[in-house]
Amino acid sequence: MRLAATALLFVLAACASPPTMVQVGADTWMIAIPGGDPTCVAYRLQSATQATVQSLFYRKRDGSFTMSRMEACGAP
């Protein structure tokens, strides 16, 4: 069931641009938050089974994520 769900999420992610969902771990994804600044998309961390920190994340140039908007987008 989990593999099927994971596969479905990958398919959905592949169809979106920019990516609305980025898998960052076996059980964790970064999901884009709609309605924000399109030049600096904010993400939230989601797990299929566990609770996650409720801070926003931003994607850096190297593709990694940070909680610092300044670090990712050069502006607070």
Binding site: S47, T52, Q54, S55
Partner: protein, 737 residues
């Protein structure tokens, strides 16, 4: 000297009189209002750059808490998160040694490698040290409980397993924490282990503050969603995020089904401590929750005897309403407002007897008491309770109101203009009767009666009197709304000579006067109040014996005044209790002696005594109250023209010379909810002593026309030693036709 009607019987032809009276107060302006100061950023020592670094503190109105001296000292906030930067300058001094990594078997330290826990803890309680920013409860301590799981949340240490969170809650409870912050969430319902741990925490009276989530959902994520479950006794608080304009953040989950236990706090671009040892900006409901956790710590410090439910009630009752009116499905209860949560909620009441309201508590002093008790130091710190039973300390000195109308009592109305229409008729052998209507406009600046909208007084009186020339008996009756003229036939009648007359208001009465030979007269007057003025006497009786001794005229009088619920026109209400019926007695001695043709000196002295009692309240055990008044003066006749008079008098109006009372004040709220009190004996006499110098002139032009005028200067008016001297005067012209 006064503008009372001539006490002698009106003589001559019946007349219709038109009188015009002008008066004005020349009182020097005393004192001035003090300037205000302080306020957010306006010189407030807490409105620093460190405070402003996180705009959230201003938006939740935290400044008022710091100004009042509350910052969470002595409180502990348990932060279940990813650990904490143990070396951060804003946190290292407040991490409790019981802090731990609760996740089993990984050999990690408490140190926050991911950074989230440090960001969260800083918002709640970062130290105020002039560096960077400070937290909401910068005086509180941190119980850091690291609970993040490495697997399967790679590469982030940013996930939490239900069992670890349950263990963390249990640990916080066994370590005695009263406030827990959890800035994490998930879509699914946590397992039974977690639910049991949360239940155990709330059953122990722990308030659990949980981030609502960043999934833009209509309801909070779990475990914040448990705020909607009554099983947790209302002690789970879900917190959503607003931006610096207090608008719900686009990412924030809304209140939804948990609206009654949902509150919002700033969560966009919050500056806080970072695990690099410095400071950083971050967004998310993760950073809204610790604003609330910090506020709870401040409230617990301020109200140490309040229960957890009461603390939560304070937060929700005082939250600033946002969005739709009232509790709504977006903002829930509204925006956290710490200053409002600290302020009295609803009415304040004084915990004595039946619990009177503070706003109904006042002691209005009569003129004789001047400013007595207005500066009683004991009244500066009185315990009052709000509708939640929380203790506040208030200054009740402002509830002691010195006498109004002090100048008016001297000027008998402080009139600007008065149009009087009078009819005075002789009724054959039955004597005379008079009827007078007076319209009087008051000087608004003279009378400190802001609630007097109608500044026009209409007074009327009727008096009938007759004299048997054969027996020398003079008797009559009077009634009216205005100066009690029934007392006028008594010689020397003025506020200085017979000050007890100032205790009488409007009403009716009778008088009787009998000549005793050619050299003496015995008079009686009785006045009954009409009840229109609750401070006025219900009745007044006066006996007066005048006699000639050689060229001098001497007099002695005995008076008695009954007041129903006042003492020398002082009234009390609310927490001060009320005066029982009071009877006071007065003795007056006086006389006049001619010095030369047309010049006479006069003097009088009055002493009064009352034995008041109070019904309930903070005032009790009154001593005997003694009061005195005196006057001395000189009168000249035929000064400018035949029939005119000039008078100069120096005197002291009625002043309480001795009065003590017990003040029993509630002072503290004990832990068991009972109220501690203290009793002290205080002096109720005024601080100053009013002295009046009056110069008067009156002249009768004809039976139909007369002029009277006076100027008076009062030193320490109202028996207030700090009052500026006041001057007032008046002129009255009467024309009959």
């Amino acid at each position: 000297m006064s503008f009372n009607r001539n006490p002698k019987m009106p003589s001559g032809v019946p007349r219709l009189c038109l009188g015009l009276t002008l008066g004005l107060s020349l009182a020097a302006c005393g004192g001035g209002g003090g300037g205000g100061g302080g306020g957010d950023g306006g010189g407030n020592p807490f409105a620093t750059a460190e405070f402003r670094a996180n705009y959230g503190l201003g938006n939740i109105r935290a400044l008022g808490a710091y100004t009042a001296g509350w910052e969470g000292t002595g409180q502990t906030i348990a932060v279940i998160d990813t650990g904490v930067d143990v070396d951060h300058v804003d946190l290292d001094g407040k991490i409790l040694p019981q802090s731990t990594d609760i996740a089993a078997g990984n050999g990690r330290t408490l140190n926050d490698t991911f950074g989230h826990g440090t960001l969260v803890a800083g918002v709640a309680l970062a130290e105020r040290n002039g560096v960077g920013m400070h937290g909401v409860a910068w005086g509180a301590n941190l119980l850091a409980i690291r609970a993040d799981a490495l697997n399967p949340c790679d590469p982030f240490s940013a996930c939490f397993q239900d069992d670890d969170l349950a263990a963390a809650l249990n640990y916080a409870r066994t370590q005695g924490a009263r406030i827990v912050n959890m800035s994490m969430g998930k879509g699914g319902i946590p397992n039974a282990n977690f639910r049991n741990a949360l239940l155990a925490a709330t059953n122990a009276g722990i308030i659990v503050v949980i981030a609502a989530g960043n999934a833009t959902g209509a309801n909070p994520e779990y475990p914040a969603r448990f705020a909607a479950d009554p099983a947790y006794s209302g002690l789970v608080i879900a917190v959503g995020a607003v931006d610096d304009d207090n608008i719900i953040a686009n990412f924030s989950n809304r209140a939804g089904v948990a609206s009654t236990n949902f509150i919002v706090a700033p969560g966009v671009s919050i500056t806080t401590t970072s695990n690099s040892g410095g400071f950083a900006s971050a967004s998310g409901t993760s950073f809204s929750a610790p604003h609330v956790a910090g506020a709870i710590a401040v409230l617990r410090e301020r109200f140490p005897t309040a229960t957890a439910a009461q603390i939560v009630d304070m937060l929700f009752s005082t939250a600033r309403d946002l969005g739709a009116a009232g509790t709504d499905t977006v903002y829930g209860r509204g925006l956290l407002s710490l200053s409002d949560a600290l302020a009295p909620l609803g009415f304040l009441w004084v915990p004595v007897d039946l619990g009177p309201l503070v706003e109904e508590t006042e002691l209005r002093l009569g003129a004789a008491f001047g400013d007595g008790l207005t500066q009683a130091a004991a009244l500066s710190d009185v315990l009052a309770l709000d509708m939640l039973g929380r203790d506040f300390h208030i200054d009740l000195r402002g509830a002691v109101l010195p006498a109004r109308d002090v100048r008016a009592s001297a000027f008998e109305g402080a009139v600007l203009r008065s149009a009087e229409r009078a009819v005075d008729r002789r009724l054959g052998d039955f004597g005379r009767w008079g009827l007078s209507f007076t319209d009087t406009a008051r000087l608004p600046a003279t009378l400190p009666s802001p609630d007097d909208e109608d500044r026009t007084l209409r007074s009327w009186w009727m008096q009938s009197g007759t004299k048997h020339t054969q027996t020398g008996l003079y008797y009559g009756a009077a009634a009216g709304r205005g100066t009690p003229s029934v007392l006028a036939p008594i010689g020397f009648a003025s506020r200085l000579t017979l000050p007890q007359f100032t205790l009488a208001g409007t009403g009716s009465g009778a008088f009787l006067s009998q000549d005793l030979g050619k050299a003496a007269r015995l008079s009686f007057a009785w006045h009954r109040g009409d009840g229109s003025d609750p401070t006025a006497a219900t009745s007044l009786g006066q006996a007066w014996l005048e006699t000639k001794v050689g060229r001098a005229r001497l007099a002695i009088g005995l008076g008695q005044v009954d007041e129903e619920a006042s003492l020398f026109r002082s009234t009390a209400a609310g927490g001060f209790g009320t005066f029982s019926a009071t009877r006071s007695q007065f003795v007056t001695v006086g006389g006049a002696v001619p010095l030369t043709t047309g010049v006479a000196a006069f003097a009088s002295l009055t002493a009064g005594l009352a034995r008041p009692e109070m019904e309930s309240g903070m005032l009790s055990g009154w001593s005997d109250v003694r009061a005195a008044s005196y006057s001395v003066g000189v009168r000249w006749q035929d000064v400018l023209t035949r029939g005119d008079r000039v008078g100069l008098a120096l005197g002291q109006p009625l002043r309480v010379e001795h009065a003590e009372v017990d003040l029993t004040l509630p002072t503290a709220l004990r832990a068991d909810g009972s109220v501690a009190t203290s009793t002290r004996r205080v002096d109720a006499t005024p601080s100053g002593r009013e002295m009046n110098i009056e110069l008067a002139y009156d002249r009768v032009f004809s039976e139909a026309a007369s002029l009277a005028t006076f100027v008076s200067v009062a030193r320490q008016p109202g028996h207030d030693r700090n009052a500026a001297p006041a001057a007032f005067g008046g002129i009255r012209f009467s024309l009959g036709f």
